[in-house]
Assembly symmetry: C2
Homo-oligomer: 315 residues x 2
């Protein structure tokens, strides 16, 4: 095979000519001249030591050897072609499977998706919700191709992944406008349900009050722990207590008057949302398109934020 490998392109040419039964037609299909086909076939026949075609008036018929070679090499070349197609980068047009933390999906992405569809009608998005932080299940799904993009809080371990930061935002308490009107100091917050994510160490009410020099345990407030920030925001919008929100995820609700920032104090740490995809993905062009759009929407939102929010520094 070592001496034969250089003739592999000629075998492909042979298969096309065998199918066309005409060098001229094969030349058209392959976008080269008939003379090139003729020379390739002559070279191949010389190498193989026998004719593969014989002249039949105005066309070429296969010899017995030609028939044998075609019947055995056709499936083999198709297998190689199929293997390569599995590897090559996909075009921009096509499907993307996106997995996202529940709050980002429902509070940020879904309200904007119609604009993505207008801008990119040839990309369809399949959206799933997962966890807030990168889980081992998410990694596995990315590795196996079940998921193309995972959107969650930024993680340190980006092995085999490409990280694309979406935004970094301050975290502060939010309440319904009705409750918001009655809050005059941090201490008055203790009179309402204090809703937080379960198993949350840093972004907890205890830590928030502590950063203000207040020991919330003395007041023994009502507390509620929920699975996701999305659940918390739903309760708060309905007037039940207060919870924390990342600025970019609550900004739209505040602009609509469904929420207000309940206090100016923000946690001393911000939160970064990022998107992750396989470094060896074949859908890189499509993913890049999607993430570029998100970045654009983030900067549009940032422009709107300048007019409306009250924020504050963390100290």
């Amino acid at each position: 095979m070592i001496k034969t490998a250089r003739y592999l392109p000629y075998i492909h040419t042979f298969l096309v000519a065998a199918q066309c039964k005409s060098y001229t037609q094969a030349a058209e299909k392959l976008c080269i001249t008939q003379a090139a086909i003729s020379q390739q076939m002559r070279t191949l026949e010389t190498h193989l030591g026998q004719p593969l075609f014989y002249r039949q008036g105005r066309s070429m018929a296969l010899t017995q050897a030609g028939e044998l070679l075609a019947s055995q090499c056709q499936p083999a070349i198709e297998q190689i072609s199929s293997a390569i197609a599995q590897l090559q980068p996909q075009p921009i047009a096509g499907e993307l499977r996106v997995s996202s933390s529940p709050s980002f999906a429902s509070r940020w992405l879904m309200p904007r998706m119609w604009r993505f569809s207008l801008a990119h009608p040839d990309i369809s998005i399949q959206l799933h919700t997962s966890s807030r932080r990168m889980s081992s299940e998410s990694r596995s799904q990315l590795g196996s191709g079940e998921i193309d993009v995972e959107i969650c809080l930024a993680t340190d371990d980006t092995r085999n992944l490409i990280e694309h930061n979406l935004f970094t935002g301050p975290v502060y308490p939010v309440a319904s406008p009705f409750i918001g009107k009655q809050i005059t100091s941090p201490e008055t917050l203790l009179n309402y349900w204090l809703i937080e994510r379960e198993n949350e160490r840093h972004f907890s009410w205890e830590n928030w009050f502590k950063q203000l020099g207040i020991d919330m345990c003395l007041a023994n407030p009502s507390q509620l722990q929920v699975i996701s920030l999305d659940n918390a925001l739903s309760a708060v919008c309905a007037g039940h207590g207060v919870c924390f929100g990342v600025h970019q995820l609550v900004q739209d609700l505040i602009a609509k008057g469904d929420l207000v920032q309940a206090h100016t104090h923000c946690f001393d740490q911000q939160l970064t949302f990022a998107a992750y995809y396989l470094s060896q993905t074949r859908k890189q062009a499509r993913i890049q398109c999607f993430l570029d759009w998100i970045s654009h929407e983030v900067s549009v939102q940032a422009g709107q934020a300048d007019d409306q929010t009250i924020l504050s520094s963390s100290v």
Copy 2:
């Protein structure tokens, strides 16, 4: 595949490098430089849009894409290699299946085969006997490859076959030396068993006497019909009657004193023995070797014949 076909040789290189896990070792196997391998792999990776190898200290390991490509392309390349091996000419060394008329096999070929073995120890001959003339069964066996060479009387119909004449020889009556001593004229032959091949039109006793102007039916001689000339010669050597022999097939027996030419008159036609093989045989080199040796032996025999025989013209 059209744009990819030119890279098929690189895929073969890739498979060798994947197996070696080393460009340097692959270069040795393929008898090109390491730099050529490196460039081919770079070109292939660029075409496929992703890496196939990654550096692992002093060797190269396959990426996931590389593993996938190797697992799918290896069997395909092997299939192509196998198809080509089925087509390419075989070397001189190997086996030949020879079919021959019985008399040629036993009276000419077998007594000489030891010399062929000495001259060509790397060619083994499998010898079968068939019929004196080319039969449809012989053609089928040649076509299917059961037989590589058929040796028989020359035929007119050489479709798909290559003809190689071995010799053309006169046909004359032979007897044992004892009977030969007592034959003084054609007529005295009528006193002995006249042995001939059954269903033989031209080379028959009736025609031989007719060519001499003798009507053998008046003498009502004893006649015996046999299946092959080889059978006839066996009987004649044992002293039973007379039969016809082609010069080259009986020459050795005459030289040994086992037979004598019983009369000088030869038939007006000679007999040609020829060898036939498939025009598209892959064993052409081997067959040619064998037939060249036969031709050599024929001419050696012809040189010996000048000293010994009495022959005569047919008219």
